[in-house]
């Protein structure tokens, strides 16, 4: 199987380990990824709230580029995935398609009738592949809290491969890796990502609740699939600790990283050394 791979802005910068681990794990599992040539930002959760047409055109541009390659689009970042899937769906509606086409044609890009599917890496890993038969180093004894956030599984008419309110895909993947999954009740509560900068206090409060619950469940780490959630949960963790005078020191890992470890891939090859909150405690527990 071959995909057109869309890394998005974050996977080339702050979420580098997600990019590295996605590529290494997919290669190990026999999936070929071809980076989408000349991709651009999907507009995130913000652009359509400034102008619907601008937001849709930003996301649709990448879908149109993947159409040209006749390949389904694979994104690891939940945001890029969600916005691209939304654009792909909009292209099935004649009115929306016309509006989008008008803008893209000015960029010299045309939307074709060849419909492609937009997939997320979690969807492919849980629904298309069987990782359980490939596990070489089971993550025995590791307690993980799987955090889905919002855009990975919502809304259901755009995503559709897991429950929008009680998703289980990452739980299943972590279990297949041999890890123990805690009952993380806040797993689909929003971390406040899109308002992190403009309403920092609110975002910190929302994120703190997630960290508190994961800690109270005695989780060794949080596992997720969204760089924006990781920005809140990991990169801002020291700020939240300082603001509320608490100490978490809770590693945050991408789902592809823990799968990579279970497949027997060396941590260095997965980019695990690139975290800001050190995942050493996780590796120590696994004896790696």
């Amino acid at each position: 199987m071959k995909y057109s791979y869309y890394p998005g802005c974050s996977l080339h910068t702050t979420a580098k380990e997600f990019d590295i681990s996605t590529k290494v794990v997919m290669e190990e599992l026999g999936i070929e990824l071809k980076e989408l040539e000349d991709w651009s930002c999907c507009g995130g959760s913000v652009a359509a709230g400034v102008s619907h047409d601008v937001g849709m055109a930003m996301a649709a541009r990448n879908v149109a580029l993947a159409q040209k390659q006749n390949l389904d689009l694979l994104a690891s970042c939940s945001g890029c995935y969600n916005k691209s899937a939304r654009a792909a769906k909009a292209l099935e509606n004649e009115t929306e398609k016309d509006r989008i086409n008008t803008i893209l044609s000015k960029m010299g890009i045309s939307v074709s009738d060849y419909n492609i599917r937009v997939r997320n890496v979690v969807d492919v890993l849980v629904n298309d592949l069987d990782i359980s038969s490939r596990i070489k180093k089971p993550l025995t004894g590791l307690k993980v809290a799987c955090y889905y956030g919002c855009l990975l599984t919502r809304p259901a008419d755009i995503t559709g491969w897991d429950s929008p309110v009680i998703p289980m895909s990452m739980d299943k993947l972590a279990q297949a890796c041999g890890a123990e999954v805690v009952d993380f009740r806040s797993k689909t509560k929003c971390c406040g990502g899109p308002i992190l900068v403009s309403k920092q206090e609110v975002a910190f409060e929302l994120t703190k609740k997630l960290l508190d619950e994961a800690k109270s469940l005695d989780a060794d780490c949080i596992v997720l699939a969204c760089p924006l959630c990781a920005t809140n949960l990991e990169l801002r963790q020291p700020d939240i600790e300082k603001k509320y005078n608490v100490s978490y020191n809770l590693p945050v890992l991408y789902i592809t990283e823990i799968i990579g470890l279970a497949l027997g891939i060396k941590p260095g090859k997965l980019g695990i050394n690139k975290h800001i909150v050190s995942p050493k405690s996780v590796l120590a527990k696994l004896g790696i």
Binding site: C9, H12, T13, T14, A15, K16, D38, W39, S40, C41, G43, G44, S45, V46, A47, A48, G49, V50, S51, H52, D53, V54, A57, M58, R61, A90, N93, T95, E96, R99, T102, I103, L104, K106, M107, G108, G149, C150, L151, R154, P155, P164, V165, T188, K189, C190, G192, G193, P194, I195, V197, S198, K199, V202, L206, L235, N273, K274, H275, I276
Partner: protein
Amino acid sequence: MVAKKKFLFGLKADRQIDGDKMNREFSDRVMAEGGEGAAIAACMQCGTCSGGCTNIDRMDMSPRTLILMVQRGEWEKVLKSNSLWLCTTCYICTSRCPRGVRPADVIEAVKAIAIRQGIENDSTRFNQIFVELVQKRGILFEPELMQKYGGLQAMLEQAKLGIQLTLKGKMSPFPAKIKNPKKFNEALEKAGKQ
């Protein structure tokens, strides 16, 4: 202050979908901005959207009320509401609505209208800078976003994290860009003004 509740035949007055009070003008405009996803005629004011909302306890107007106010054409109230900027577009409301209404998409469309109407606050400023910078090169350069939004102070506050990220090879001092940013920018600039 808690607003005095008014009831009529057991139904809270602000919950009434009263034909006489409806005004299609605003909802038509919301739909013109956001497309079919912003249609709200099916809303029966059940309040499920508000029940699941991430930030409801900080909002001056619940998502349910906001939809009703759009239906009634209460422009001022809706455009001035802080709910627009507290919405994180997490789609809980949209996933739970039993009538297929998409409050998150409605709010998104209203945000765009509010910005065009000249509503200004930290959120509108951030959102506009974000879009402007994506339009410029096709790929966002975060340090520039930080600097444009928060100025020198934000840069200093984020300096430690910036250095950590740079040392880990997760932040380049040079922005990335697409092949033809000029064409990209022009096309989107024009679309945004319509």
